[in-house]
């Protein structure tokens, strides 16, 4: 480590690492230097001139956002000259800024308002006509109000540098300079909304949030996105049990400021008109709404009778319910229903990877943070930018900030091709051996096209490189990884312990031979299958599966309950209830009530999420994670490698849905925002 640089800011002695920008050094010391255009991690602009400070021996005010600290530098941010510069820069900004704060979405959390409040002039001397242009809609998601724009160019930089999309630019020059979308009159991009999030004013606003609320009327609940497996934290702004907005406003969580369209907007499925709000029972061939008590009693009676008749059960768990729910469900199946016919839709071969790593005695699982920090990456099969936008973002940022080397072997062109060290089409990665051996470390990311023997070969390849290698086995959904960890398969118990009993797999359960099939948060009949004698379904919507059911129990979504989920990299995070919902109940409650109705609750224990989390932490290998981390909104990586796993899963059962940016299984079908974007793209 080079020696720290000593400097003085406002009379205070400060030290900072060489190369630190003055604005950051001041911030670390608790001295605010205001800025609009400066944004950590993006290229420097020096455009807004808000960060001008006095530096001794310099004839002019200097921009603190471009000036690296220097030994002996004497800086003043508290002089009348600096105050005047800030005040009048704001006056300049306000000349063409419409003072429509009372109807602006940003009012109340606007950086320009805050700056004017703190540093600006109370009155304007501007009496000329303001430049005005009408508002434009760039996409279903993105609206642009040019007059409000202060031209800090953050949106252009985050889209280009941060997202690697480059869908926004600047056209014209001078006072009529304007942010413009890539297709002339509209945007064609990831619709991630990063531009909206990063906008310090109300120039870029979101189609779903605009004119919905004043920001201060919202309650902000930090929870985890329920769509893909990446596990981004999203802060839901709620009001009167409605979700109004999703963002990651405090940039906490594994995703920092990153969110894709799903994390930011696709929460809207929760109040789709088709959402189930009352239990349904099939009467005379038709599903009819009934009370919860009738529904639960009917299910419990059916289960009890089937048990008494020595009937057969099948239980299908979910890729997006919580760990606690899957844990409780498999326990229910095994301990109460006495069946090992327990399974779920597997989207990646995690089991073989864990076994192969145990066999190899080395190699581990990479975390989301690793993707930003490790030096080299081998991406196999997946189109990360579309299917795992956070992972793609981490690797892209790693390249941008640390020049990570990326090797891509995919069937089709992918976005990583643009900046990778090597890109191959197909599946053969062996020709990269020599190059990879020269790396000091490697992260291998692979999708469901690598299963069984292919995964073992891959681990053998990784081991042969002679460098530290870690892995990310890609899975699809928000708790795909947790489902397998929780033993939601016939051959394994929670923590990958062998169940030692035979059990039916999903496809076998769909053959129609069971007396009762209980489906919790899944849609196994999406592509057909034979209805069993009695079908119980817990879900949010009347899916292909639910519409065939004898009883449908309306379930709460991830934003309406507590619990933990485990993301693609094995990191456990806690869901927090953001809104209460009418009619639907969390799956855990539904299962608990059924157990109670069956007088079997005592066997399974209390069905409070936290109590079950405790049980999981105590009993599931690898889940000994610090509870304080989870409780405070952090992520804790599990270490489920537990020696050899036997038996391995059947590779033929693994298949990914390969959801792109605008799809998300069942939930995506009920998101207005995702559908509007898809329709809009089809129209252009």
């Amino acid at each position: 480590m080079p020696d720290p640089v000593k400097l003085t800011i406002d009379g205070r002695a400060i030290t900072a690492a060489p190369g630190t920008l003055l604005i950051d050094a001041a911030k670390a010391a608790g001295i605010e230097i205001p800025a609009f255009c400066y944004y950590e991690g993006l290229s420097l602009a020096a455009a807004c001139r808000m960060c001008l400070v006095e530096v001794e021996k310099m004839p002019k005010l200097m921009t603190a956002c471009t000036l690296p600290v220097a030994e002996g530098m004497v800086v003043r941010t508290d002089t009348p000259q600096v105050a005047t510069a800030r005040k009048y820069t704001l006056e300049f900004l306000l000349t063409n800024h419409p003072l429509d704060c009372p109807v602006c979405d940003k009012g109340g959390e606007c950086e320009l308002q805050d700056m004017v409040f703190r540093y600006g002039a109370g009155e304007s001397r501007y009496t000329e006509i303001k430049v005005h242009t009408p508002e434009k809609q760039f996409s279903p998601v993105v609206f642009f109000d040019a007059p409000r724009c202060i031209l800090c160019f953050r949106c252009v930089r985050i889209c280009n540098e941060g997202m690697g999309v480059g869908a926004l630019g600047v056209i014209q020059r001078g006072v009529v300079s304007e942010i413009a979308p890539n297709m002339g009159d509209h945007l064609e991009c990831d619709e991630c909304g990063a531009c909206i999030d990063i906008c310090p004013v109300g120039a870029l606003t979101s189609g779903s949030y605009r004119y919905q609320t004043r920001p201060w009327e919202m309650t902000h609940v930090g929870t985890i996105c329920t769509h893909c497996a990446d596990g981004c934290k999203t802060t839901l702004g709620t009001r009167n049990n409605h979700i109004i907005r999703g963002n990651n406003r405090d940039h906490s969580g594994i995703n920092g400021e990153f969110l894709c369209i799903k994390g930011r907007y696709a929460f809207d499925f929760y109040d789709h008109p088709d959402r189930l709000q009352a239990p349904l029972i099939r009467k005379n061939g038709k599903l009819e709404e009934v009370s919860w008590s009738e529904a639960l009693t009917t299910v419990a009676k059916k289960f009890t009778k089937t048990l008494a008749d020595n009937g057969t059960f099948g239980v299908i768990g979910s890729n997006h319910t919580t760990n606690e729910e899957n844990f409780y469900l498999q326990k229910f199946a095994r301990k109460v229903l006495h069946t090992n016919n327990v399974d779920h839709h597997r989207t990646g071969d995690v089991v073989t990877l864990l076994d192969a790593l145990s066999e190899a005695g080395q190699g581990k699982l990479a975390s989301v943070a690793d993707l930003y920090e490790r030096k080299a990456f081998l991406i196999l099969g997946a189109d990360l930018a579309l299917e795992h936008p956070l992972l793609s973002n981490q690797i892209r940022s790693n390249f941008r900030h640390h020049q990570a080397r990326i090797y891509v072997v995919t069937e089709k062109p992918v976005r990583e091709d643009k900046y990778c060290a090597a890109s191959l089409r197909g599946r053969d990665y062996s020709s990269l051996t020599e190059k990879l051996q020269k790396e000091s470390e490697l992260v291998i990311v692979f999708d469901d096209s690598y299963c069984g023997e292919d995964v073992r070969k891959l681990v053998a390849f990784g081991t042969s490189l002679g460098i530290p290698v870690s892995y990310v086995p890609l899975v699809d959904y928000s708790n795909s990884r947790g489902a397998i960890d929780m033993g939601m398969v016939p051959e394994l118990l929670p923590g990958y312990k062998p169940s030692g009993q035979p059990g039916l797999h999903v496809n076998e359960m769909l053959e129609g031979n069971l007396d009762v099939l209980w489906v919790v948060g899944a849609n196994p009949f999406k592509a057909g299958g034979k209805k069993p004698a009695f079908l119980v379904v817990q879900d949010l919507f009347l899916t292909e599966t639910a519409s065939q059911a004898d009883i449908v129990l309306p379930a709460a979504c991830a934003y309406e309950k507590y619990g933990t989920i485990t993301n693609v990299t094995g990191e456990v995070q806690r869901l927090k209830l953001a809104i209460n919902t009418m009619g639907a109940k969390p799956d855990l409650d539904i299962m608990g009530f059924i157990a109670r109705e069956m007088s079997a609750a005592a066997i399974l224990g209390p069905w409070f999420p936290d109590t079950i989390t405790d049980q999981i932490v105590k009993t599931v290998h690898g889940y000994k994670v610090p509870m304080a981390t989870l409780a405070t909104g952090g992520a804790a990586q599990t270490m489920p490698v537990n020696g050899r796993i036997s038996p391995g899963t059947l590779p033929g059962l693994v298949h990914s849905d390969h959801n792109g940016l605008f799809a998300s299984g069942t939930l995506g079908r009920y998101s207005k925002v995702l559908n509007s974007v898809v329709e809009n793209r089809a129209r252009h």
Partner: protein, 435 residues
């Protein structure tokens, strides 16, 4: 071709071949010591070339006046990166039309200057960035460059010296800001003409992020004479801290407008009266801009005893600038002049930084309203205040360039602003003189 009669008071160093028949052809050039300086320089060490330029006291002729030899010495000659020579022929400072004359009359002199700069910093490629409006100059240059290739003064192993050099013309497309060196480099790379954050300076990271010498046309054109006749001889033409001559454009209310090559330190009074033949129609001098519209305006009284050099102008809180002298007689409306100047800067502001983008337009609007009779007394102070709030706080010198003349006009000609008050439209408006 010349557009004005030469003056006997000129010192014709850079313009020595002007007016000769076929002055643009390489034959004419070679017949008059053309490329002799290059040959001489090729036999010198790079250090010696730079030393000679330093001795000449040549200072950048684009307007900033930075010592050229020192600028060249900042280029890391031993850098493994390629180095480039870039010529700023984006002449667009209002009042300035000298580079045009230099290229139009003697393109080979520029090429030779570029070659010598190439020798000095180990550069093997160069670009002449010509403003888009000067299309005919690109044609002249392309022809001259082709001749130079043909005669072995460009290309591989030039004149058997082992020195290689490729030279290209590059057109701009209408943007004053691209005359600013870092914006020019952005434009050369096919981007919007937004200046770069400095450091690094072009000497270290210029064209294509490689070490680059970037000078004005006139600066390069002075180099052959310096190498040919020695830096000391060039220095002796000027004054102690600024050597040589300055191509000076007399514009505005002057009887003999034109481009004249005058020794640095030439007396302003003599320049107006003798070189320029005095103020038109016997009027009196009201205001004087020494070197392009970016310079603070001087009053007739301030010009008394002034000379056309860096220090003399600096001591009067103005600048020598680009050599675009703007002369305004006592019939001139200074509010209108300020308005027109601000209209220009508001049009040319790149829009990157807040004070320049918003300040220039705000000032333009106030001045426009003021000149049409809608001004208030408070506006007068406001004009000064806005200018002061731009000064020194913008991303690049364009903000200063807009603020300085305005500030000087509002401070020195406040009375004219007063005259425009009370709904009285411009009291200086006149019919078109020739109409």
């Amino acid at each position: 071709m010349l557009y004005n009669e030469p003056s006997p008071l000129e010192t014709r160093v850079l313009s020595r071949r002007f007016g000769q028949p076929n002055s643009t052809s390489i034959e004419t050039y070679l017949a008059d010591e053309g490329y002799a300086a290059f040959k001489k320089a090729a036999g010198m060490t790079p250090e010696k070339i730079i030393e000679e330029v330093k001795i000449s006291n040549l200072r950048g002729r684009g307007g900033a006046g930075f010592p050229t030899g020192m600028k060249w010495s900042f280029v890391p000659r031993t850098s493994p990166k390629p180095k480039y020579i870039v010529v700023n022929a984006d002449e667009s400072e209002p009042g300035t039309c000298k580079d045009r004359v230099l290229i139009e009359n003697d393109p080979h002199q520029l090429i030779e200057g570029v070659l010598i700069a190439g020798l000095a910093v180990d550069a093997h490629a160069g670009y002449i960035y010509v403003r888009g409006e000067y299309r005919y100059l690109i044609e002249i240059l392309d022809k001259a460059i082709a001749e130079a290739y043909e005669k072995g003064f460009l290309g591989k192993n030039i004149q058997g010296t082992g020195f290689d050099f490729e030279l290209y013309t590059h057109t701009g497309a209408g943007a004053y800001e691209c005359g600013e060196e870092s914006a020019l480099l952005e434009s050369l790379e096919g981007k919007r003409g937004i200046p770069r954050i400095r450091p690094p300076f072009p000497a270290v990271a210029g064209a294509f992020q490689c070490p680059t010498v970037l000078n004005n046309v006139e600066t390069y054109c002075a180099v052959p004479a310096i190498l040919r006749d020695g830096g000391a001889a060039f220095a002796a033409l000027g004054i102690p801290k600024a050597g040589g001559t300055k191509m000076t454009c007399l514009t505005g209310h002057i009887n003999k407008p034109g481009v004249y090559e005058l020794k640095l330190g030439f007396p302003v009074k003599q320049m107006i009266e003798e070189v320029g033949g005095g103020i038109r129609m016997g009027h009196k001098l009201k205001a004087f801009i020494p070197g392009g519209s970016s310079c603070p305006v001087l009053t007739a009284a301030e010009v008394e005893g002034a000379n056309m050099d860096y220090d003399s102008m600096a001591s009067r809180k103005s600048m020598l600038g680009s050599g675009g002298v703007i002369i305004m007689d006592d019939q001139t409306c200074m509010v209108k002049a300020a308005l027109r100047i601000m209209k220009f800067y508001a049009h040319e502001s790149c829009g990157w930084c807040i004070p320049c983008r918003e300040g220039t337009t705000w000032l333009r609007k106030i001045l426009d309203r003021f000149h049409s009779g809608g001004g208030t007394r408070a506006d007068i102070n406001l004009i000064g205040d806005i200018s002061r709030n731009m000064l020194g706080r913008t991303f690049c010198p364009l903000g200063d360039a807009a603020a300085m003349p305005t500030l000087s006009i509002v401070e020195k000609f406040r009375g004219e602003f007063e005259d425009h008050l009370n709904g009285k439209p411009c009291p200086y408006e006149h019919e078109m003189a020739t109409a």
